[in-house]
């Protein structure tokens, strides 16, 4: 379970997250929507400790992410992350991209790591691309590679930061399909997304962010069918 208590984040004097309270249960799929600059990406970075926080805390399975004694590298193995820019490692083949972290972070043997990697690449539909370098993959394939790479660490949670918004429109579908598959397998997911269809169909709850505040959270039927906050109504009217 991910517990977020009264989380505040500043970049210098810019107050980006203004007291977020949020719990995400095991097995839940949460979509996070909101305008550009509302702090959605920053929230994810605070959850896996890529950004420090100034007040409040994030607790993952009982471990305080930002506490001094926390082994953050160990904790991050529980928190897979997929970025907007797909960030494949260009100097490694697809297989090596996925096998690297299990080998050097988890200490798996080379053979074991490659086995896991091949399995995860098959899982996301890249079973025939094992020895291909990222430069020879499409954006959608590279994003699925990034998903496989995160999954190879066998995380308990997956954080998606607009995984599809840098893709050509015709490539969005395959990545959403992969995310949908993960959701059906029971993965706990927090998905920052602009894909309202995905948010409505796949998530258990949808959270709407507005200027660093979580204005509204609830089941998709409520957020999309009967939004309470005025800002949510405006935002949804614009994206439709």
């Amino acid at each position: 379970m991910i517990e977020i208590h009264d989380l505040h984040k500043y970049f210098g004097s810019l107050h980006v997250l203004k007291g977020i309270d949020l719990n995400v249960e095991k097995g839940e799929v949460l979509s996070v929507i909101g305008a550009s600059g509302s702090g959605k990406s920053t929230l994810l970075y605070c959850i896996n400790g890529l950004e420090p926080v100034q007040q409040g805390k994030v607790v993952v399975d009982g471990t305080d992410v930002h506490a001094k004694g926390t082994d953050i590298n160990k904790l991050r193995q529980q928190l897979g992350m997929v970025f907007q820019q797909w960030n494949s490692f260009p100097h490694l083949t697809a297989l090596e991209n996925v096998a690297l972290a299990p080998k050097i972070v988890k200490g798996k043997s080379k053979a074991e790591a490659r086995e896991i990697a091949a399995q995860q690449l098959k899982h996301v539909g890249l079973g025939d691309k094992l020895d291909v370098y990222p430069s020879a993959l499409s954006g959608g394939q590279q994003q699925r590679l990034a998903i496989a790479r995160a999954l190879a660490m066998e995380p308990e949670y997956m954080l998606f930061d607009e995984a599809t918004s840098a893709l050509d429109p015709e490539l969005v579908g395959e990545v959403l399909e992969t995310m949908r598959m993960l959701a059906e397998e029971g993965m706990t997911m927090i998905c920052v997304t602009h894909e309202m269809g995905f948010a409505r169909d796949v998530s258990d709850r949808v959270a709407f962010f507005h200027q660093g505040v979580m204005e509204e959270i609830g089941p998709p039927e409520q957020i999309f069918g009967n939004p309470q906050s005025e800002h949510t109504q405006k935002f949804l009217a614009n994206v439709r």
């Binding site: 590298n73 193995q77 960030n87 490692f89 100097h91 690297l100 972070v105 988890k106 990034a146």
Partner: protein, 220 residues
């Protein structure tokens, strides 16, 4: 009008000595490059990440190495230190002068290489649980290495050619040795012509080896 008679025999007789001197040239150039790469890497990282006196030192090093004649840099380690009572052997003078110069040039290449790797590569690595060292050595450095590979090759060629300045501080590498024989036999043109060919062959060998290695190293 053209009354110079070429005499190649003395050159040919001292060819083994010249080739031995060529090995010395190659040795000092390779050593200077190895030291230059290590120091250049440090200088680049200091310039990217540090403040204070270390940054000042690194910047000054790079500025001097790149913006003053290589010969002066050599003279500094020779006559410069000599006037402070620190007398280095000709070999050390050339090695230190070359290293100073190579480190300065390579530092700028490395800095550009590091800046070309997007921050998101590090974020992605860290999000997988890699520590900072692993992210640097496994993800950043290999990509930087590819970017600076050709500049390093060029610098290696430059180090070989620049080592010929060694003859001006009494170092008997290839040029110094050539000068020695040439002035003894007065076959100046012949000696330097043959030595030029030897330099040419060395440079071509370096470039060829580098190209061959690149096709093995960089498959992406």
């Amino acid at each position: 009008m053209f009354d110079y008679n070429f005499h190649w025999r003395p050159v040919m007789k001292s060819l083994p000595d010249l080739l031995e001197a060529a090995m010395l040239t190659l040795q000092v150039a390779v050593l200077a490059m190895i030291l230059g790469i290590v120091i250049g890497l440090c200088l680049a990282l200091i310039r990217l990440h540090m403040r204070g006196p270390l940054l000042w030192l690194a910047s000054t090093w790079v500025e001097l190495a790149r913006n003053t004649p290589a010969l002066f840099q050599l003279f500094f380690f020779g006559f410069g230190l000599g006037s402070f009572g620190l007398h280095l052997s000709p070999y050390m003078i050339v090695l230190m002068g070359l290293t100073f110069n190579c480190a300065g040039y390579l530092a700028e290449n490395f800095r550009g290489g590091f800046q070309a790797i997007p921050d998101t590569q590090i974020r992605a690595s860290r999000s997988l649980g890699m520590n900072a060292w692993q992210a640097y050595t496994r993800i950043v450095i290999p990509q930087v290495f590819r970017i600076v590979y050709h500049p390093i090759t060029n610098q290696m060629v430059w180090a070989v050619l620049m080592s010929s300045l060694g003859m001006l501080v009494g170092f008997r590498e290839l040029s110094g040795e050539t000068q020695f024989f040439a002035s003894r036999t007065f076959r100046i043109f012949e000696y330097f012509a043959v030595t030029a060919v030897i330099y040419y062959v060395i440079v071509k060998l370096i470039l060829g080896a580098s190209r061959l290695l690149a096709t093995r190293l960089f498959r992406y």
